[in-house]
């Protein structure tokens, strides 16, 4: 099994790695690049704990090969905060106690950000369906949905101000 050499961008940084051709991007991120924020809950695309964005689209990194990402643009939960300033979603997840064990939290944050980037004022139903690919076993999703709603409200306020 010979390795594949890949140059790509992760959270704005140029990254190079060599991986097995069958190795998942999730394993590459965790084991070769040292970014452990994305978690493996299932390896079959059913739990969303490994959510990242690839060229702006939300994906399960367990269902992407490391070999596929030559020249692509990847973002992970580690790229959400702006320096020491947390992303509003991160702040609201903490404020609304939207996590208990926290294992699903990185995936939810990445998925919620992808939703709000696309649709800054989603309905409750739109939030619930947009997050249906992320399993949480602790919270019953209640406080997660509330944290996303609170963030959307804040976004609406700031865009209003800007106008």
């Amino acid at each position: 099994m010979s390795g594949v050499h890949i140059s790509t961008t992760v959270n704005g940084d140029s990254v190079e790695f060599v991986c097995h051709p069958s190795e998942s991007l999730l394993d590459v991120l965790r084991n070769r690049i040292g970014l452990i924020g994305a978690k493996e809950g299932c390896s079959t695309g059913d739990c969303g704990a490994c959510s990242i964005t690839l060229d702006g689209r939300l994906v399960c990194s367990c269902l992407v090969l490391g070999a596929e990402v030559e020249g692509r643009d990847i973002t992970t939960v580690e790229g959400m905060a702006d320096g020491e300033k947390l992303h509003p979603l991160q702040i609201n997840f903490l404020k609304h106690a939207a996590l208990q064990c926290g294992i699903c939290t990185p995936g939810f944050l990445v998925a919620a950000k992808a939703l709000l980037d696309r649709n800054p004022s989603p309905t409750e139903e739109q939030i619930r369906f947009a997050l249906a690919g992320n399993l949480c076993r602790c919270t019953g999703y209640d406080k997660i949905v509330r944290a996303v709603q609170a963030t959307a409200k804040e976004i609406a306020k700031t865009t209003k101000k800007k106008r």
Partner: protein
């Protein structure tokens, strides 16, 4: 295992045709990689077709639409013209998995995975979609219902791949719809499903119909008797009842972890009835 990402269809065909051992086409990977992780397949070669220009976009022409094989299902919903012409096909494609899966999964992948429960196939069959197949012997076009020949089996020959799906031009007063039954609201595989495509005359009478069912037989089934049951009607309740009965009669499902024979048969009829009503409304019927 070797990974290749050719830039042309020709190159991809040549890689597949000359492959020693087991070669697979990789598009979205949402089925293929799951099967690899579960040790159901052990490929010797993966041919990633996402860097081939001819697979990358949705084109509208005088003859209808051409959807490239690596277009993710999420992108279908972003194409307003396609959503307007074929809402049933788009909703079928958008029902597959989560947003995460939508970003990767493709209609062609869904077709080639050849599951009896595939969401896009009944909708595509109802829509009279065709597959543009490229192989060592050149190009050919094949009706979608002829691509899948059994669970997990396609009629594609060694070296062949599907470059795109085409959807025909839409006559006036047409509409399609797709419904599936799943136990949860998201993330499940269809227990049974129905795709209905209708064209009405000026009076709102159904003049042409195609009805296809999923997950009730080894392959998706086109049900001409179900179409017959509603052609010439305005979808009155007797016509809908005949449609449901014709669908039930066409079912030959199995009992498995996702549903029973009885359940699949009964609900397939219910879904066909409901989908027909939606398609009828979309076609402008009242």
């Amino acid at each position: 295992m070797r990974y290749a990402a050719p830039l042309t269809t020709k190159e991809a065909v040549s890689l597949l045709a000359n492959a020693k051992g087991k070669a697979f086409v990789l598009a979205g990977g949402t089925d293929l990689l799951v099967r690899m992780r579960g040790d159901y397949i052990e490929p010797d070669l993966l041919v990633d077709i996402k860097r081939i220009t001819a697979t990358q976009d949705i084109k509208k022409s005088a003859n209808g639409f051409r959807i490239g094989a690596s277009v993710p299902c999420a992108a279908l919903n972003e194409n307003a013209g396609l959503v307007k012409a074929w809402p049933g096909v788009v909703e079928a494609a958008n029902l597959i998995g989560s947003d995460q899966i939508q970003s990767r999964c493709t209609m062609v992948g869904n077709l080639c995975n050849a599951s009896p429960a595939a969401d896009t196939i009944p909708a595509m069959v109802a829509a009279q979609a065709s597959a543009v197949i490229v192989g060592p012997a050149g190009r050919r076009t094949l009706a979608v219902e002829k691509v899948v020949i059994g669970p997990g089996k396609t009629s594609l020959k060694k070296g062949e791949l599907i470059e795109a799906i085409t959807l025909p031009k839409r006559p006036a007063k047409s509409g399609d719809a797709y419904l599936r039954f799943i136990p949860r609201t998201e993330m499940d595989i269809a227990v049974c499903s129905a795709g209905v495509n209708l064209t009405l005359d000026a009076q709102g009478v159904v003049k042409a119909a195609r009805v296809a069912l999923g997950a009730v037989a080894p392959t998706v089934v086109l049900v001409p008797d179900a179409a017959k049951a509603i052609v010439g009607t305005k979808l009155d309740s007797a016509a809908l009842e005949r449609l449901a009965k014709a669908c039930e009669a066409a079912c030959a499902p199995i009992d498995d972890k996702r549903g029973t024979v009885e359940f699949r048969t009964e609900v397939a009829g219910v879904l066909a009835r409901r989908a027909a009503k939606i398609a009828y409304e979309r076609a402008g019927g009242k």
